[in-house]
Symmetry: D2
Subunit: 193 residues, 4 copies
């Protein structure tokens, strides 16, 4: 059952589990498809967590800068970055709500952290014009706060998506969705600078 | 309403509509996230259609080879490839069911065409070991045929996903999913060589 | 398309459309199935609106008392009640937020009205112990307010459901969900006295 | 978690579990809402299974006749019918595919059994004109066979629905759908005589 809920692509299969909650391919795919990042893109992310999104972005983009304030998570993420065999990830231990980001001209900023709304103004400074900030947000209340903050910070095109995914059993004796599975992971808010 | 159902990322916004049915970001994202393609990947696709997936893959990957048998669609796709400003796409007018593909060692093959099952054996020849074939299939009957053909052709890890996406209105006066939208586009079958 | 989104059972097919938004069978079914009303039940409802739920409840229950404050809607509802040929419905023009309900020992109270939370205390007075209040609520904000008010009023078992329904095309040439349809109608909050 | 997936109304709460798979309120509600049964209706059902649908229908309708071929299930169902305290249910041990039904002029026939398609012709004989046959079917293949058989037997209005239900956590600290739950129970085919 677990495998069905969280099918992972080959790069992610090698990563360690058991740390902070991971972002699953279902949501990683939406982030990539709606923001249009590609092989020339610079991505900035906070927080790193288990580094599943970090590694997925690094597999596609030129460079990923990722921020994590919790020392234990940094350690966990470093192990996973090592396992990914990718060498275009830079991880920094920092609380971005206090100190912001170092980068400029980023093509994507993703925030997956408590109080993500408080990092929106820093995200704005980092982003190139026309590029996206994405909030990965568990609750509707966080979505509301985040959208409002994006509007305050003059992001121009804000939309919110949720994705429900079902796996099918395809057998000679009968084809149907699997009975149990993930009903909800998070809402994704996209805001264009 | 149309915009809500089919939000497009910046590269796709410039493409022409009105040709064959397009693959939307919701499904493009799943293809990218579950197959693990990246900036070093070679992708092969049939059929090209309106080239929305073609352009999305080319934005991420090293090279995309795309096959389309219908002359009018080839013309339409060429216009869109030109508009994308990407120069790593090669389009060939051919019915792959009759003549197969020219490439070797591809990292991904996507089939979005009538009778996709008849191209599975050619897809197998093109793919590197450990890489994915994806079928974009409208009907359950096509899914069953495709899965069976993948098993016949010794693909080892076959799974089928469908994605339902909802956009939310986030307003001071109330937050809720939009009332009407897309309930279904296609099923995605993933098969690993 | 319209018919598909709003398939109606035979009693409802005869009712007039074009008045206030109707409650659809998808949600009517949930209200009936989770609250356990039956042929001996007394139901109380506000507001009546187009009387689609009113008529559905009356078809099953002993008696339905329904309240509507808007004079035009009362007129519209009366026409539909007449068309239903059911004679166990009593409609009253009243703003229940100001004056509450007349009944006692009801087996179900359904609130489908602006500011439904302000009628929760009246609903509590009307209900038998162990029976359900249901809020039909469009927005998450209304859900939150309603749930909080139910807890304030000592309802003991409160839960919130949403139902997504898809119709399938089943044809020789292919079986699949219809492409477009209703993504959202309302959230249902159930609270047991 | 179990309770969340299968919230039951008060009548059903008293029934025994651990027998054949039950039909849940989510689907019971759809059957009631789309077929328009009420307090004057005669319902016929096969097979009885754990009698959850049987009891739900009996709570609403005048009389329910239910058929079950498996002796052990009959015993299990009788215990549950007793627990429901309803006295308008008649259960018969019989394989309806071999011998059909005894009733005439039914307002609803529900088939929840292997090879339901083979009982469609008997269902037709039992039903009043203008009333519904409902198939509760786990797999798409069963849906296709059932729909085709209904068309062969001259049912005039056939449609197929699936219902996805989500429960929400509504808390001060955040509102969101529960993470895990039921993704699929069954498809419902409705056919009007």
């Amino acid at each position: 059952m677990k495998i069905r809920e969280e099918r992972l692509n080959p790069v992610l299969e090698n990563l360690k589990r058991g740390g902070p909650a991971i972002i699953l391919p279902k949501d990683i795919g939406q982030i990539i498809a709606y923001t249009n990042i590609g092989k020339e893109s610079i991505c900035v992310e906070a927080g790193t967590g288990s580094a599943f999104l970090t590694v997925s972005l690094a597999n596609i983009c030129k460079k990923v800068y990722t921020y994590e304030k919790d020392e234990r998570f940094v350690k966990f993420a470093k192990e996973n970055i090592k396992r990914s065999l990718l060498n275009n990830i830079e991880i920094k231990q920092r609380d971005v709500i206090e100190k912001g980001f170092d980068e400029k001209n980023a093509d994507l900023v993703v925030l997956d952290m408590p109080n993500a709304k408080k990092a929106v103004l820093y995200a704005r400074k980092v982003l190139k014009k026309g590029r996206f900030l994405v909030g990965y947000l568990t609750n509707i209340e966080q979505v509301k706060d985040f959208v409002k903050e994006c509007e305050n910070e003059q992001f121009q095109n804000t939309f919110t998506l949720e994705t429900i995914q079902r796996e099918y059993l395809v057998k000679d004796k009968g084809t149907r969705p699997v009975h149990k599975g993930l009903m909800h992971t998070a809402y994704l808010v996209f805001a264009k600078k």
